[in-house]
Symmetry: C2
Subunit: 377 residues, 2 copies
């Protein structure tokens, strides 16, 4: 016991006496990266464990017109992503990806997941050995065989550094406006998580730590599949009972899926913001639910709906849905996940959207007890 | 092992060879009782373990005008509760409460909770010893000292019979219309639960069994308190992040409250329809959320809002909120439940509805790590 205490005291002393402050670099400059940079910039000014100045990687051609952070020449610029929000003055735009990361201690990844492999490839020989990372990327990737790949795993594999993840019921513009929200930070290394919590937490953005990065990441990706199902329910005009049942069953299948394919995923993670709260928000108003509603109502293709409704953005639920299905088929586990399989069948195999209820029913199974077998036929 | 198998075989044989069918009586005839009687009536016709004919206790003065079940004189009558739905012909209206219960094996309680003590008092000497019960009553009661009393506990205490409970995301009219929904049946005695599942389960009303009646009953009552908070958030115009956070924090406090005051309550119950699904439905459109929104927006009293908005019905969230608060104060546990306490303070002590966010923040607490203490002041 005394040993534990003295270890802790030593650690506190070593943290308190440290001279070095961690340098943070933000990789990305879209609307989510911009919203988070407001928080990160202000926290870096306030807390002693981070360098004040934070580099933000911005595509060269975007610096002039889109980002309201400090250009190397000292001008402030305004963002087309977050209308009306100016980024803190300690966020410095950096068009050179390698320069952005080479002296960083902490990398904050916040780019569309399809750009990640290229970015990792460019920086992999330029990251310092003790650097730690956090993924703010929504969505999952997949390898050439269509198998799901976790973003935190890709960052770890390519850069050989610890990577946490942050995820939750977080609509970017509401966060930038300072509306109250929560987020879940999934970590492997506690010391990194405690620093990252300091970097992200504010009175209006409450960050909770869970030692389950895989659970958090699965929540963030699988919710989009369930949102497709919620869109089908909306299109069919069913009431709140049915939609609540679909969300609940979806949460159960998400939990089961994550626990089946990865060890150590915890039930409690699904009670966090990244779990139940993000699923609720996503099923009530995200792009996946809106497009799925239109898909079931109009019969148009996903490509057409993306083009008409998303202004250049892509659906994540449809891609993840395919990957989940392939994984279930390859492992012969499809019978165990009737809701997710039904969503795939409606989304990609021309099944009637009404069958979404069948997916819910099958999840429940037929109660088989001595009593239920005694029918009057 | 062989002993267990043979026990099970014996049980199945004894169930299969039984001659007696259980008689069901429904105590109540409001809209929820009427919706459930459609399910119960049809299942009693189909399954061999129940008597076909089911008595439904109906106030004498209501028989003529309100209920579409069979009057003792053989006429069908229509319901003012469930417009357009006729109850199955095997549901027999019975104006005499004692006659309704005295030959019953299974009592289905479905009345407003404030009528329960009177009903129990009237029937307590007329219930057969091996009768079992189920509560479909929403809400909790309280004793003369304001302490919460569970409905299943009251039934058990007064009648000395086992009592299960059914609860979930179940809007009566949607259930009567046959829309897909789920429900959670919390039980103590497995054999009763298996019979009751047969009585209630249909392809569109999926009943799951959990061996945690107290957890189920707390879900059903505490959700109404959280819905008041959701109404305050709505009135303040906050977005989906904030509402999802409130719902999530509410679910966590519900779980913590139930586990703190009763042993054996299970985490998994809060993933069931009675937990997360019912909470979502209630926070998105129930009477508690609507009245709380009006309360925060207009400053009118609860009494006035009930009179104006509820057409004679009462709010359950406000009563439960008081009882929860009293229980927390009496046990000095109020610090542990900042959201529920804040909801009480807004509802009854004139606090500004904006403080609802403070309740959410306090739930999260301030992250205290060596890093967060190193500020630059």
């Amino acid at each position: 016991m005394s040993e534990i205490v003295s270890d802790e005291v030593l650690r506190e002393k070593s943290i308190a006496s440290r001279k070095a402050r961690d340098r943070v670099a933000i990789i990305g400059s879209g609307n989510w990266a911009s919203a988070l940079s407001i928080i990160i910039g202000n926290n870096a000014k306030k807390y002693d464990c981070f360098e004040n100045e934070i580099k933000m990687w911005v595509y060269e051609e975007m610096i002039e017109c889109k980002i309201s952070c400090v250009h190397p020449n000292g001008d402030f610029l305004y963002s087309t992503y977050l209308h009306g929000f100016k980024l803190p003055e300690n966020i410095i735009a950096c068009p050179d990806l390698v320069r952005c990361v080479e002296d960083a201690d902490c990398l904050v990844f916040c780019i569309p997941h399809q750009f990640l492999p290229g970015v990792l490839n460019q920086i992999k020989h330029h990251v310092r050995p003790n650097t730690y990372a956090i993924s703010c990327i929504k969505g999952v990737d997949h390898d050439e065989n269509g198998r799901l790949r976790l973003i935190t795993g890709m960052i770890y594999d390519e850069l050989n550094i610890d990577c946490s993840i942050i995820c939750g019921a977080n609509v970017a513009n509401q966060i930038a406006a300072g509306e109250f929200a929560e987020a879940t930070l999934g970590y492997r290394v506690r010391d990194h998580a405690e620093k990252l919590q300091v970097l992200f937490n504010t009175p209006n953005f409450c960050v909770q730590l869970v030692n389950d990065p895989v659970g958090v990441e699965f929540c963030g990706s699988l919710k989009n599949v369930i949102a497709l199902g919620a869109g089908f329910v909306d299109a069919l005009g069913y009431g709140s009972n049915t939609k609540a049942a679909l969300i609940r069953i979806g949460l159960q299948e998400m939990k089961k899926f994550a626990k089946m394919f990865y060890k150590g995923v915890q039930d409690n993670t699904f009670f966090q913001s990244a779990g139940v709260a993000d699923l609720i928000t996503t099923c009530w108003g995200g792009r996946n639910v809106r497009c799925a509603e239109a898909f079931a109502r109009t019969g148009k293709s996903w490509e057409q709906l993306e083009a008409e409704m998303l202004n250049g953005q892509k659906l994540q639920g449809t891609t993840t849905c395919k990957e989940v299905y392939d994984m279930l088929i390859n492992t012969q586990m499809d019978q165990e996940f009737p809701l997710m399989v039904t969503i795939y069948n409606i989304a990609y195999r021309g099944y009637d959207p009404k069958l979404i209820l069948e997916g819910c029913r099958l999840h429940n199974g037929v109660p088989m007890t001595p009593y239920s077998m005694l029918t009057q036929e």
